[in-house]
């Protein structure tokens, strides 16, 4: 509700009339979402519960998904990549956000820009850039061997190292921003009060700041994890044979095999997992904070 009121354009008569009837605006938005989002989603359900010949309702696709361990492996790999990415993002993102929230305005601006500018660049462009940087004859290896730190170029590409570097780079802003949003609104008097009562800086952080910022961390972790399990481009470009994700397999099933019912079932399974992750995150952080409509 507050969202609608805040985004309405003020000072125009028509806008005032709209504001009087927010229901109409919401109905329009809902109709739009229903057409472009809900209807295709329903047809996804339709396909997923089709028989192999396309005749009648059936659980054939589901039992195929359950019975074929190829897809279990792929789901496992996808989860593993997503979990590691989330962990690394949290380890880098939390101190970064803390610095952003507590430093002077000039450095804070610089840190914000460093997070936001890559954020506005296409994922494809950034993944390709990493291919150039991390390659056997890429910039990073040239430096490392040139400085004598390595004898032979390190394998940084086409393995999980490459995937993690690329994915952390792409997803880090989703971790930093929710944590920063909470830390920046935290009353600086609280840790100060703890210190005045004799707590060491570390103790003040562990017992006051950290617990208060946990919802931001949970929101960031949920966002990063949700995006990471649906990721396609970065693992496909930077990964090796052991980094085949479920998104790549869905593409194969839909494009090469034209097996849309099974593709739909795989997509639904992925969607269900994303929903599950969202629900877990929401339990810790609140759904609104993850969706970004609260806590700014």
């Amino acid at each position: 509700m507050t969202l609608v009121a805040a985004s309405a354009v003020p000072s125009v008569k028509a806008a005032r009339a709209w504001r009087a009837r927010p229901g109409l605006m919401i109905a329009g938005a809902l109709a739009f979402c229903a057409i472009v989002y809900l209807l295709p989603m329903l047809s996804l359900f339709g396909w997923a519960f089709q028989g192999p010949t396309g005749s009648g309702a059936s659980l054939a696709q589901l039992s195929r998904l359950i019975g074929d361990d190829t897809y279990h492996y792929a789901f496992f790999t996808t989860f593993e990549i997503a979990a590691i990415t989330t962990l690394i993002c949290a380890l880098i993102g939390y101190p970064y956000a803390y610095l952003m929230a507590t430093t002077g305005p000039r450095l804070a601006m610089l840190l914000t820009a460093a997070v936001m500018i890559p954020f506005w660049t296409s994922v494809l462009a950034r993944s390709l850039a990493w291919m150039i940087l991390l390659g056997r004859k890429g910039v990073v290896n040239e430096w490392l061997t040139g400085l004598g730190l390595l004898e032979r170029p390190a394998a940084l590409l086409f393995n999980s190292i490459g995937v993690q570097i690329g994915m952390v780079h792409v997803l880090l802003p989703f971790m930093v921003l929710p944590i920063w949003s909470i830390l920046s609104r935290l009353d600086p008097g609280l840790p100060r009060a703890a210190r005045s009562l004799g707590a060491s800086p570390a103790a003040a952080f562990i017992h006051v700041t950290l617990p208060l910022s946990l919802p931001g961390l949970a929101a960031g972790a949920t966002l990063v994890f949700m995006f990471a399990i649906g990721f396609y481009i970065t693992p496909a470009l930077l990964g090796g044979p052991n980094d085949l994700t479920i998104a790549s397999l869905i593409e194969m099933v839909v494009r090469d095999l034209l097996d849309w019912p099974f593709g739909a079932m795989l997509s639904l399974a992925l969607l269900g997992l994303v929903a599950l992750v969202f629900a877990c995150g929401a339990a810790f952080a609140g759904a609104g904070r993850i969706a970004g409509i609260e806590g700014r």
């Binding site: 190829t70 492996y73 004859k137 052991n242 397999l249 194969m252 090469d256």
Partner: protein, 369 residues
């Protein structure tokens, strides 16, 4: 939306109120309005390939017949399925490969080609192996050993598939395709294991996979599309690659340190295929008869180095031009044809060999070790 449904600016003006009504209602199904002489839409791969086709095929055909040719693409099978399923068919002819055709035949998305409507003399110059019931081979690509010339200077390169499988004698990073329909290296795996190229079909699947297992540790990158493969080779990230030879030749022409070994290559056609429900069958066959002419194909081959399917084309090409093409008589003799029938054959489980091997490939890839 308007462009896809075939509305030209003129027909919008002529249509007046009616046309503006169709534009105003984007959710109403629009039947394409075609010009009098007819119009066909060819879905192809775009880029320099489509530019060359427009120069030597589309524009001359328009001049000769008055039938307008529009191009669109890429000819994704999934998109054809969406068109046929929804009844909103905006493409007539596809320029696409065999894996896509097999998938589309299975999903009943194509019209069979009526060979009686094609010019006998011109058709006779195209090898019978390319007369598929649903696709007429016109532009030949081939999977070849493509290598970086800095890693393998002066004839030290791997010349056979057994060499490619030999990681001791031929050091260097390999890249092989993953996805993109057929599993093209299965034949090569069999050949590397000692099966003669002319006896490779029917493929001994288990023997091929056993040989394929030996390749795994040598492969640095399983690439997803051929442009990526050429990029990896040019940058020196990869030393040996199994990819489309003609693409390697394009990169070589542009100055990349790349060369192609035609020996042992697997030839495969890109085909003309007709979308189910294509509106103007007469125009479609006029177009096909025009573009299977050897002279037209020769002109195309001068612009893009893919092999012409018509052997008549070589009468219109110089020796130097012919040498670069994978279907020149010399190069043809060193290579073998993909057996489309074998890949399209239905196996015991009701799926085609193609589908089964794609799935097995995915399984092989995700299971570690």
């Amino acid at each position: 939306m308007t462009d896809r449904s075939g509305l030209s600016r003129r027909s919008i003006l002529l249509g007046g109120a009616g046309a503006s009504l169709t534009i105003a209602s984007p959710f109403v199904h629009v039947t394409p309005a075609r010009a009098d002489k007819g119009e066909i839409v060819v879905a192809g791969w775009g880029g320099s390939r489509t530019t060359a086709m427009r120069e030597v095929m589309f524009t001359p055909f328009e001049k000769a017949t008055g039938i307008r040719v529009r191009d669109d693409g890429p000819p994704e099978a999934a998109k054809v399925k969406a068109m046929v399923d929804s009844g909103n068919i905006t493409w007539d002819i596809l320029d696409t490969d065999i894996p896509a055709i097999l998938a589309m035949v299975n999903a009943k998305l194509l019209e069979p080609i009526d060979y009686s409507k094609l010019d006998k003399a011109r058709l006779g110059k195209i090898p019978p192996v390319l007369h598929h019931p649903y696709g007429l081979g016109h532009l030949i690509y081939s999977f070849n050993i493509v290598y970086n010339t800095k890693a393998f200077p002066n004839g030290t390169q791997p010349k056979t598939w057994a060499d490619v499988w030999d990681g001791v004698k031929f050091k260097g990073a390999r890249s092989f395709p993953f996805r993109g329909g057929l599993s093209p290296q299965l034949e090569f795996a069999a050949i590397a294991d000692g099966v003669p190229a002319d006896k490779v079909y029917p493929l001994d699947i288990e023997r091929a996979w056993a040989s394929h297992d030996k390749l795994r540790p040598l492969v640095t990158k399983w690439y997803a599309n051929h442009a990526e493969a050429i990029q990896l080779l040019s940058s020196g990230e990869i030393d040996i690659c199994c990819t489309i030879g003609p693409r390697g030749l394009v990169a070589k022409k542009d100055g990349a340190p790349i060369d192609v070994e035609f020996a042992g290559g697997k030839l495969a056609p890109d085909n003309w295929a007709i979308v189910k429900g294509a509106r103007n069958a007469d125009a479609v066959y006029q177009f096909l008869n025009f573009v299977i002419d050897g002279k037209v194909q020769a002109e195309l081959a001068k612009r893009i180095p893919y092999g012409p399917s018509s052997q008549d084309a070589f009468a219109h090409l110089s020796e130097a031009e012919a040498k670069q093409l994978n279907t020149s008589p010399d190069n043809l003799a060193k290579q073998f044809w993909t057996d489309i029938d074998w890949w399209g054959k239905t196996a015991e489980n009701g799926k085609t060999n193609n589908e089964n091997q794609i799935e097995r490939y995915a399984r092989w890839m995700v299971k570690r070790g």
